[in-house]
């Protein structure tokens, strides 16, 4: 299922930040990870991903670095900055609060998706 654009606008940046939490990644890797990790729900076209990355870069949440891969090609790796890490913590808290509210409203149910837990728990 694909989410609406407005929802994607809020979820995309936090998803990318979350993916970068585990270590630097390059563009195609992020695309693939998003598709794989979210089972296609948050999959986004590259026409959206790269501008999103540049926006995060402009906010100093991530920083790019060109590195030479084993194949000899140069790739642009993105990694979280300290500011990006703080933002991620804040965003995660907010999303949890939203999820909690949705559960309270009956929109979500903890049983429906085992990856969503109540506030205070670990995702």
């Amino acid at each position: 299922m694909r989410v609406e654009r407005e929802l994607m606008r809020g979820a995309g940046p936090v998803a990318v930040l979350k993916l970068l939490e585990s270590g630097p990644k390059y563009g195609y890797e992020l695309v693939e990870a998003l598709r794989r990790e979210t089972e296609g729900v948050l999959e986004m076209g590259q026409s959206t991903l790269y501008p999103l990355l540049y926006n995060l870069e402009s906010q100093s949440l991530i920083k790019p670095r060109w590195e030479e891969a084993a194949s000899g090609r140069k790739r642009k790796y993105y990694s979280l900055t300290a500011k990006g890490k703080k933002r991620l913590v804040r965003e995660v808290a907010q999303w949890r609060a939203v999820a909690q509210a949705m559960i309270g409203l009956g929109v979500l149910s903890p049983q429906e998706n085992p990856r969503v837990e109540v506030a205070g728990g670990q995702p």
């Binding site: 590259q46 026409s47 540049y54």
Partner: protein
């Protein structure tokens, strides 16, 4: 080394002269004959195979123009050739490779070692050539393209890939060239091995971003790597294209995001630029808002004041008009061959002037004209009609104009030409000179005849227009006549009979009566005319200031020197010219600044009211006697308008026009007027004294002897409002004014050359007349 040709390479001459020519000046100054400025000497010294020497020579000649560059290139090629020879390459093959490289059109500036490898196969060279040719921009970019693609092809060729495959992997030359043009850099493209449709997509995105070249390169490189990753992951070009999404959206989003990444300094400049642009737009809109009504409004010229004047003159019966006779005499009059200075001397000193003999001859030759003048002076009114066709011959004589050209409809009152006023001045002067001549011949009746005619002509001169300039002219002619009467009575006391003296006194007293109150009453016409030439009129008296009005206002002739600074932002327009006479720059300045300046002006009704207020103050100022010293309301108000910026902006036309009223001639008018009156009174006192002497055989000792028996009233001294001082001294009547210092010096004048009327210190003696 020898200097003979060997397979195309010509060794440089070893002669001293040739070595001298090839030595840099710096070495010559140090006494060295190095001959190191000629690259051929380096090739020759390298001792290479002749074919190689010739190939290097040709390459250097083709690839570099400047001496320093040629020397460096020759050194590089020699070094590279030596390296290849050391590794066992065949000299002829190396030479062939160099020759092949030189045949490429975009070869200048590329790494020379590329020339020395084995020649690339023809399809590869052709692809390089096609790509480089289609790259747009500077030549250096094409050279860089050649180098980058050549290196890539050489590497792939060395790796054993077939030329056809290499070309296929490289893709379409046109697409690659377009991308290189976009990126201003061939490296990204040369490094990528992407299908044409992907390259095309990247090019579309990059082109759509309209970013800086460096930013474009970065985006393109990242996208190239992204698609390469996708291809490596086993996705097809079509899948990758589909996943990428719309290129236009991508370009727009990338641009927006990349711009956010730009440095703070750029953002500062950007914001400043935006602020400036917004200000320019706002100012332009304001200017347009002001300019449109400024340019559209037209003055409503409804009243032709000269036509009104003519109408009044035409109401005078022809038999009562003096001008036709004067005109007849003026048409017959030959020009007086005396300069202005000589004429002034004659006016001041008449028979005592050194030019008197010339004047006598002129009077003899002008008998017919003078008789016409005498006839004209008998008429009650001047009756000059501006647009009378009968004035044609006279106008052509005095101004080379036709009647139609003379003050045509639409002429501003301020610009009215008054050639007839000058004519009347001549008439009055000639009649006065005739009186002087007759008096010198002791011819009392003729003297009386011409004096009377001169006095009447003076009055007619004052009627030449409604304006103060004519009144001043008439007054001056009259003053000269009265001064002459006073002097004649002193020099020739028995020239006139009693009844002639009495008649003369009546003529003097009555003739001037019409001109006593000449003070600027008609100048309101000028203001009304100014308003109708500068403001539009909606029929109710309301209107706005027009561009024509600003043209009138900025005419240099109208603006006083002291007010020039008020018009500093505006160009000066010459009198009788319009805006089109300005240069393009000045016209732009006029249209740019004009709407802003005139936007501050009061509307027509308010401006007229202000004019009326100022004009009222001005008239009150004129009516003040000389002895009444209170602060001038007119000057105070005018200074206030000039000094308070908001008032000045609002009533600038009033400031300009009323400053003209404040001109020295006008300010001095009160004093001048007082002088004319006192000289007139002096002539009347002289006549009365002479009559008293004839009756009593003695001079009167005070006004008590004259008033009211002979003189109706005691004349006043305009400097203090008291009676003129009169007494007898040295058995002669003494009449004097205390003068501007308002101190009675017992009738003794200040010694010196100044005008005694206006000289501080001493008195102004009216009787007896001082003889030069």
């Amino acid at each position: 080394m020898n200097a003979t040709r060997e397979r195309g390479f010509r060794h440089p001459s070893a002669s001293r002269l040739a070595r001298l020519r090839d030595t840099p000046l710096r070495d010559l100054l140090r006494g060295r004959l190095s001959a190191r400025a000629n690259y051929r000497r380096r090739i020759s010294a390298a001792d290479l195979a002749p074919s190689l020497s010739a190939a290097i020579d040709r390459s250097v000649r083709k690839l570099a123009w400047r001496r320093g560059r040629r020397l460096r290139l020759a050194d590089q090629l020699i070094e590279a050739v030596r390296a290849r020879l050391a590794s066992g390459s065949d000299p002829d093959k190396l030479a062939a490779a160099l020759e092949a490289a030189c045949r490429l059109p975009q070869h200048r500036g590329i790494d020379p070692s590329l020339y020395l490898r084995d020649p690339l196969p023809a399809p590869l060279r052709r692809t390089i050539d096609e790509t480089a040719k289609q790259v747009r921009g500077r030549r250096a970019l094409r050279s860089a393209t050649v180098e980058a693609v050549w290196k890539r092809f050489a590497a792939e060729h060395d790796a054993g890939i077939l030329p056809e495959q290499i070309v296929d992997r490289f893709g379409d030359a046109t697409v690659n060239a377009a991308l290189i043009t976009q990126l201003f850099s061939p490296e990204v493209v040369a490094a990528a091995t992407l299908p044409d449709e992907i390259l095309q997509l990247i090019r579309d995105v990059v082109q759509g971003t309209r970013l800086w070249p460096r930013e474009k390169q970065e985006v393109a490189q990242e996208l190239c790597e992204h698609f390469s990753d996708g291809l490596e992951a086993g996705q097809s070009s079509e899948q990758l294209r589909r996943q990428f999404g719309p290129t236009k959206l991508a370009a727009r989003l990338v641009r927006r995001a990349k711009i956010r990444c730009r440095p703070l300094a750029w953002w500062a400049w950007c914001r400043i630029g935006q602020a400036v642009a917004a200000s320019v737009v706002a100012l332009s809109l304001v200017w347009l808002w002001l300019f449109v009504p400024f340019a559209m409004a037209r003055p409503s010229i409804n009243v032709d004041h000269l036509a009104e004047f003519d109408k009044r003159q035409q109401a005078i019966p022809r038999s009562e008009r003096a001008w036709p006779r004067y005109r007849q005499g003026l048409e017959q009059l030959a020009p007086l061959e005396l300069d202005w200075e000589a004429q002034s001397d004659l006016t001041a000193n008449d028979s005592a002037s050194q030019h008197w003999p010339t004047m006598l001859a002129y009077l003899d030759a002008s008998g017919e004209s003078i008789e016409r003048f005498v006839e004209g002076s008998a008429a009650p009114k001047l009756g000059f009609v501006y647009r009378d066709p009968a004035n044609g011959d006279w106008l052509r004589k005095v101004s080379d104009q036709s009647v139609a050209e003379f003050n045509p409809p639409g002429t501003m009152v301020i610009a009215t030409a008054l050639p007839h006023a000058q004519g009347m001045r001549e008439v009055a002067q000639l009649l006065r000179m005739m009186a002087v001549r007759a008096s010198s011949q002791q011819d009392g009746p003729s003297t009386m005849k011409y004096l009377q005619a001169a006095l009447r002509a003076s009055q007619h001169a004052g009627e030449s227009s409604d304006f103060v300039v004519s009144k001043l002219l008439g007054s001056e002619c009259y003053r000269q006549c009265t001064a002459l009467v006073t002097r004649l009575l002193q020099d020739h006391p028995n020239l006139f009979r009693d009844e002639q003296l009495t008649h003369l006194a009546h003529v003097i007293a009555s003739g001037f009566a019409d001109q006593v109150n000449f003070g600027f009453k008609a100048e309101w016409l000028f203001i009304e005319d100014f308003l109708q030439h500068t403001y539009s009129n909606d029929g109710t008296g309301e209107g706005r200031f027009t561009s024509d009005g600003l043209r009138v206002l900025t005419q240099a002739g109208l603006i006083h020197q002291q007010d020039q600074h008020l018009f500093a932002p505006l160009p000066r327009i010459k009198a009788d010219r319009d805006v089109s006479s300005l240069s393009i720059n000045d016209r732009m300045r006029f249209n740019l600044v004009g709407p802003g300046v005139s936007a501050f002006f009061a509307d027509r009704r308010e401006m007229r009211e202000k004019f009326r207020e100022m004009y009222g103050l001005f008239l009150a100022e004129l009516d003040r006697p000389l002895w009444y010293d209170r602060p001038s309301e007119f000057h105070r108000e005018l200074r206030r308008l000039q000094e308070i910026r908001s008032l000045r902006r609002r009533f600038l036309p009033v400031v300009v026009v009323m400053s003209w009223f404040e001109a020295p001639m006008v300010v001095d008018n009160r004093k001048y007027h007082a002088r004319v009156l006192m000289e007139r009174d002096a002539s009347l006192v002289a006549i009365a004294s002479e009559l008293y002497r004839r009756r009593n055989d003695a001079w009167p000792t005070s006004f008590d002897d004259l008033v009211p028996q002979i003189l109706p009233q005691v004349p006043i001294d305009h400097w203090d409002g008291q009676p003129l001082r009169y007494r007898s001294r040295d058995d002669q009547p003494l009449l004097y004014s205390i003068g501007p210092d308002r101190r009675d010096d017992d009738g003794w004048p200040q010694s010196g050359d100044g005008d005694p009327f206006d000289t501080v210190g001493g008195d102004w003696v009216l009787l007896p007349v001082e003889v030069d």
